[in-house]
Symmetry: C3
Subunit: 329 residues, 3 copies
């Protein structure tokens, strides 16, 4: 039933960004994810990675990412090892080259989360350069590709055909610290490639990396989809089929912490509530990668309401990642 996995020729491939994979390759991944999901629901064993090992290096904490990857490995018959740099000798000066080479000798893939702005992607790329096994991103400072795979599987699961659907990606307000920009960046990069029209809404100081916005524009154009940037929160909701309102920090605008916190507090009205939800289509989905800052980012009424598919979205992390691991490891 999974004979197309070998035929896909993706064994050994890295996955640092959806941008590195063609639409056809991603379609293969979604197809396998859907079958793995159905097999799990039916209780059919899928031991595609028997006795294989995935290393999961977390420079930043996680719940969904760690549990979904590690559980996925178990369900595929293998094992995921949780590694935290403060307990590894990375803190004794071990470099990326050594980590990559040694882990390549022991196991079958290296997954990394490293969100420090200006550092994460560089580290993942350096490990990928030296590793002879696939390196999989569990989120860096630039990309969070697995989240977006899950988001797309959720949207496709709800609507079937995705071309021509409108997705609103909106920056919301959540206090205390500047959350990463990896999720919105990955959304605007991949969704247009599947024909989804994207509206990205943020206050001016919350712009994303210029080269990412540029690439998103190019992706949309090549796929015949639209991609628009606006500074009005409501634009993300109007006539939308899906809305993903999510906090991120003004990381591109300023590296000054105080200024960042001030800006984060400056737009308290960028919050998803029932009134905003009413601007979209009746069937509009509310999505969020979690954890959401309830009360600040979104009202309980919305996130616990009938349009919210946040738990389906979280569940799909499991299925897409199992497909990703089955294909590359």
């Amino acid at each position: 039933m999974y004979t197309d996995i070998a035929a896909a020729g993706l064994q050994g491939r890295n996955f640092l960004s959806t941008q590195d994979w063609s639409v056809d390759e991603l379609e293969t991944l979604f197809s396998i994810a859907s079958r793995l999901k159905a097999d799990r629901a039916a209780g059919v064993p899928t031991r595609l990675l028997e006795d294989k090992t995935l290393y999961m290096i977390f420079f930043d904490s996680s719940t969904r990412t760690r549990t979904s990857f590690e559980t996925g490995m178990t369900q595929l018959g293998g094992h995921g090892i949780y590694l935290s740099p403060d307990r590894m000798q990375i803190s004794h000066g071990e470099n990326a080259r050594d980590t990559a080479n040694v882990l390549s000798r022991y196991g079958e893939a290296i997954a990394i989360r490293h969100c420090a702005f200006g550092e994460g992607n560089a580290y993942l790329s350096e490990v990928a350069e030296h590793a002879s096994v696939p390196v999989l991103s569990m989120q860096c400072d630039v990309y969070h590709p697995c989240q977006i795979l899950a988001d797309y599987l959720t949207i496709r699961g709800e609507f079937g055909k995705t071309r021509g659907r409108k997705l609103g990606v909106a920056r919301t307000s959540a206090p205390n610290y500047a959350r990463p920009i990896a999720v919105p960046q990955s959304l605007i990069l991949m969704m247009p490639r599947f024909g989804i029209d994207v509206t990205l809404a943020y206050p001016p100081e919350f712009r994303l990396l210029p080269e990412i916005e540029e690439q998103a524009r190019a992706n949309a154009e090549a796929a015949g989809a639209s991609f628009e940037i606006t500074h009005r929160f409501e634009d993300a909701f109007e006539d939308a089929d899906v809305v993903i309102p999510k906090s991120w920090g003004p990381l591109v605008h300023t590296r000054d912490h105080e200024e960042g916190i001030r800006l984060i507090e400056a737009y308290p009205e960028w919050r998803c509530d029932s009134e905003r939800m009413a601007l979209g289509n009746d069937h509009m989905l509310y999505m969020h990668p979690l954890p959401a800052d309830r009360g600040r980012e979104v009202t309980d009424e919305v996130i616990d309401g009938p349009q919210s598919v946040v738990y389906d979205e979280a569940e799909n992390r499991l299925h897409v990642q199992k497909a990703l691991m089955s294909l590359t490891m």
Copy 2:
């Protein structure tokens, strides 16, 4: 050989307290635990939970609990994932509802240890309310049901019939911090339901929760067993078949830390030694959930002596928990 597992109809059931399970249901659990123990001794594989995942969330540290649960999952063909809140996004404000819903989508059960007085049981209950998979207590502020299952299996293993046996539960002195009351509370709740006569001995300030003592009394009456509370240490030993002398703090009496420490130091003579052991029946067993404060709670002579079955008791954690997981997951 384990066909009665499905027939028991316990799949999906929570286990926050023995009180939630009928005596018949608990008997089924002990029966399966005994078979799993025999099969392990004989080297017979028991892959009843193949490729299934148990999440183990520890708000408090542990050796026996973590290793027995995780090893149990391995022996059943599945995998236990150790999760510590400080490395999860619980510390980023993720609520119990989200944790319950997301983990229910990925794996097959959620086990939790949360001993903070006045918080633990509430948290477990909230996760149980939202989870669609079973929630298993690894100890909260009120209950430690798995420990008591192990204790009962140990007593039954030594004596066969348990009705009419006398168990002494006595509070001992151990310095520095107020240990939880979950173990004595769970002992007095369950043991009388199996016909065991219980004598509970503590200095007045070390009383347990009134509603638990009340429920214990009702349980004893319903089962035709006796339940007595005394403030004399030796009462727990006299004519007893089993004694479990264990430290706990004056948590119900006072929330004041200084006063608590003062009271803990106030009864240094509440210590299990050979003289006290001599008060019981010749075959009397010494039990303790470990770790014991050697020298303060108990003399080396007793805990390392011929009447001590502390390692059998610890071992039985493994077997009862494997039975619990096999039945509910």
Copy 3:
């Protein structure tokens, strides 16, 4: 194919030092390690420890050791549990006896890393005394036997016959803290037993434990090999077939931290570079257990150069440890 494992009669044996095993027993281990290595390369499953559990207690951090042991258990069909004392009740006063007894009831082996000078080996020995399952060293203050097994497998893999080969073990300079002496001590103990001539080079203050140097001398004599100590760095390289230049601290000379740091900084020229490498035979191998302090201990040119086999050496940790676990568990 692995029927000689049972015949070897090593089940239940501890492994705290290579010194406890005969040359024949070690030969059996290397033979199995080579087969496990070949089987892994060929993709042949080797489920020799199905559903068995190894406990890995780390008092000190690790990358290679943890990942190679844990991955090894997965490849053998079992599971390794990573335990850190600060999250165990060892920090609540649980003693070695209790840990040994309880873990012996749950799983099949206990591996420990405990490098604190003057404490580690004593702790491992105490656990071994009370455990009924094998206790395996993952490095203590005195020995690092698994590293040396890997080193020997690497040397034998390169040269076939090892008798008469010359190995230079040289102390290098690495700042900031006094690294353990377990690696050089284990090297000089075991290598001569396989006929390898060893030259040990260090500045006078960096001598090893007198009883270990004495035992190494006796081992060499018994095996008809040579063992020499010198205070000239270059002696370790001249005419050598293998060189292992590695930092360690003046732990035997002084317990004073300031004095230790001063001495570590006192010999900056004890560094492995191309000029020193040129002193050895043309085919001389450069080895290091990693992590190496690049720039201080060794130049990039050497460690990343053609004579370096550090990643083969790291890989062999996996194979020798799988053999060790298969034989003892």
